[in-house]
């Protein structure tokens, strides 16, 4: 379902944009304004991160956003209500991004059913390799939701093929070592890595971790299918407010 949508969009645009927000940060109202701005600015799909107290794969900016959202009363229930509202109101696909404990405590089955019932399209779980995720993967498949696997530069080609066997929708390719929001220039080795990703999967490739400006997006055009903008929009919102995010996103593509 999601794969079809993405491939159709790709016929119209050289590269798609996926943005990310931490639900409830800095508030639920501001989160909804952000979604509105991003959709208006033309993003093709969005990750809604349900905050977790121990986000080990996230760098300092998203980590603090998680913490602040929790301190200000973000609960899983409120986040799911928010996600349902966003999915009902805006015509782009929304995915949940979070850590496994959120699903585990809620009940994997109930969580996935609820995602399906409220029009969400898939999920990215940062700390759930398929070896630990059979209940999750089976339930996602049964509900026709996309379970998005993660490739990293340290993933062997053999393992990419294995991960691809569980993939639906698209592949999330982590561009570099480190946590979200790290700042280093893309390198030539990224090209080789993306070639390996491409030969491991026929699904669209999303590239994230450190994509922060138009030149990054330009660089990825033709090499990947989706540019993922995560930490940078948080930085812009914190500095210049929600509207500045809309302007930033709309200028990422020609």
């Amino acid at each position: 379902m999601l794969e079809k949508y993405l491939k159709k969009r790709l016929k119209e645009k050289p590269i798609l944009l996926m943005t990310h927000i931490v639900v409830g940060y800095p508030s639920f109202e501001a989160s909804m304004d952000l979604v509105k701005e991003m959709v208006k600015a033309g993003v093709d799909l969005m990750e809604l991160q349900i905050p977790f107290s121990e986000p080990i794969a996230d760098g300092p900016v998203i980590l603090r956003a998680n913490q602040t959202a929790l301190e200000r009363g973000a609960t899983v229930e409120k986040c799911l209500e928010f996600a349902a509202k966003a999915a009902g109101e805006f015509q782009i696909p929304f995915l949940i991004m979070t850590y496994y404990n959120i699903l585990y405590r809620y009940g994997v089955n109930s969580f996935v059913s609820r995602m399906a019932d409220t029009g969400l399209k898939g999920a990215i779980i940062a700390d759930l390799p398929p070896e630990e995720g059979s209940e999750y993967l089976n339930t996602m498949r049964a509900h026709d939701l996309s379970s998005v696997p993660i490739f990293s530069p340290t993933t062997t080609s053999e393992r990419m093929a294995y991960l691809n066997g569980f993939a639906h929708g698209f592949i999330y390719c982590v561009a570099r070592k480190g946590v979200t929001g790290a700042q280093t220039a893309f390198s030539e080795s990224l090209d080789d890595y993306l070639k390996r990703c491409r030969s491991a999967s026929s699904l669209p490739l999303a590239v994230g971790f450190g994509v922060s400006c138009k030149s990054d997006v330009d660089y990825l055009s033709g090499k990947a299918d989706i540019a993922v903008i995560g930490t940078q929009t948080l930085r812009i919102m914190e500095k210049d407010g929600v509207e500045a995010v809309g302007k930033f996103v709309s200028e990422l593509r020609p």
Partner: protein, 408 residues
């Protein structure tokens, strides 16, 4: 990566994809070492010549007389180099680091003992070393910070989250995902993703292997009960491993803080407040809310102030093989006071939890019974906390004068 490292329902390896190949490498290095008899020999040799092993068992004659019940024996892990059982795990992982050819180590620390042990190992083996420590713990364990820095380590205070042990673990993982090529993460307890629970308890099993032989030689029989404090659980698993297949009751003392029903404790099992969850790469009992967000914990002992517990202990608790109880901050200070005065021993605040629990139960046992307490570390590091708990006026005067001297 196969699905491995389960103990009943607990354990596993819930790791971000970027670390999968690093864990594969670690698992195979560990498996190789385990099946190579010369590795354990080399390990025992270094623990003997560098850390002073075997550590003795001391008969606590005065405490035995004081309680009038079971005969009390103490396994002296405080006599390890750097003053705690932490050295056992760290030196073992150090040998693995050499095998893997890495040049840098990182570690988390709560009380600072694991950090000091890691910094010591790094100095000896010529490795770069960074230690992550919650800001709260930096403040309450300043002497250990001083030693880590003198030993050449970089100490990074962690200012995110609740600023204690779990937050230091998260930060160490964040470092590792950027630097795994040259860096090994020396996790300090039997928690985290596979192979850490198994690997750390394997190195720590040296405690129990020695203790079983020693108590048989000293007392002519096995102990009725063995007591150990439980933070992450590495010293407990270390000593329990020696008696796992014997008719010996194994008792884990968690940090009951201000009381098991006060909500201000770090007891994941005995309090009944913990529940199964997945965080920091593994599944176990955590102190968490219904949403799965980790709660703040409290203990007078920084090394026990942790939201999770070894998956091996979670499973042994569920099967009933290990009995879990809690000792409160107050019981711990009282036990420490008594142990110092009667035996001239200074257990770490962490270890004093095992003493406190043993003291509650010793009078109910007979003179034929033996109890063995694991003194996992020495208490010198706790001088500031203990001086505060005793409200020691001479100490306060000293600190004031010292501060004035620095101002002058």
């Amino acid at each position: 990566m196969e699905q491995r490292g389960y103990y009943g329902r607990y354990g596993g390896a819930f790791i971000p994809e970027i670390l999968v190949s690093t864990f594969d490498e670690l698992v195979s290095a560990f498996e190789e070492a385990k099946s190579d008899p010369s590795f354990w020999q080399e390990y025992e040799e270094i623990m003997h010549t560098y850390s002073g092993r075997p550590t003795p068992i001391t008969y606590a004659e005065n405490l035995t007389r004081h309680f009038g019940g079971a005969r009390i024996f103490i396994k002296r892990e405080d006599l390890n180099h750097t003053g705690a059982h932490k050295a056992n795990n760290v030196m073992g992982q150090g040998l693995l680091v050499k095998r893997m050819g890495k040049s840098r180590v990182i570690a988390e620390t709560g009380a600072g003992q694991h950090g000091v042990a890691t910094a010591t190992m790094a100095a000896k083996y010529g490795l770069a070393c960074t230690i992550y420590m919650g800001e709260t713990d930096v403040l309450r364990q300043r002497p250990n910070v001083f030693w880590m820095e003198r030993l050449g380590a970089k100490v990074v205070p962690v200012t995110d989250g609740s600023r204690i042990l779990k937050d230091a673990i998260n930060e160490a993982f964040r470092d590792w995902v950027s630097n795994m090529d040259n860096t090994h993460y020396v996790l300090g307890t039997a928690c985290g993703p596979h192979p850490y629970p198994e690997m750390v308890s394997w190195f720590q099993s040296i405690i129990g292997r020695e203790a079983r032989k020693q108590i048989l030689a000293l007392a002519g029989k096995l102990p009725t009960r063995v007591y150990a404090c439980v933070g992450g659980g590495s010293n407990a698993l270390g000593i329990f491993n020696g008696f796992m297949n014997d008719p010996v009751e194994l008792v884990g003392a968690e940090a009951a803080g201000k009381g098991l029903h006060s909500g201000k404790h770090a007891s994941r099992i005995a309090s009944g407040d913990g529940s199964p969850g997945v965080a920091q790469g593994y599944k176990t009992y955590f102190l968490q809310n219904n949403d799965g967000q980790m709660k703040e914990t409290h203990s007078v002992a920084a090394g026990l102030d942790y939201v999770g517990v070894s998956p091996i202990l979670a499973s042994l608790g569920e099967s009933g093989r290990v009995r879990f109880t809690g000792a409160t901050d107050k019981e711990v200070i009282d036990a420490l006071r008594l142990t110092m005065k009667t035996e001239g021993l200074i257990p770490a605040l962490e270890s004093a939890h095992a003493f406190a629990q043993a003291f509650k139960e010793a009078p109910g046992l007979s003179g034929d019974d033996i109890i063995l307490i694991n003194q996992s570390g020495r208490g010198d590091k706790d001088i500031f906390t203990v001086a505060d708990a005793f409200d020691d006026p001479h100490w306060k005067t000293f600190i004031r004068k010292k501060a004035e001297a620095y101002h002058a």
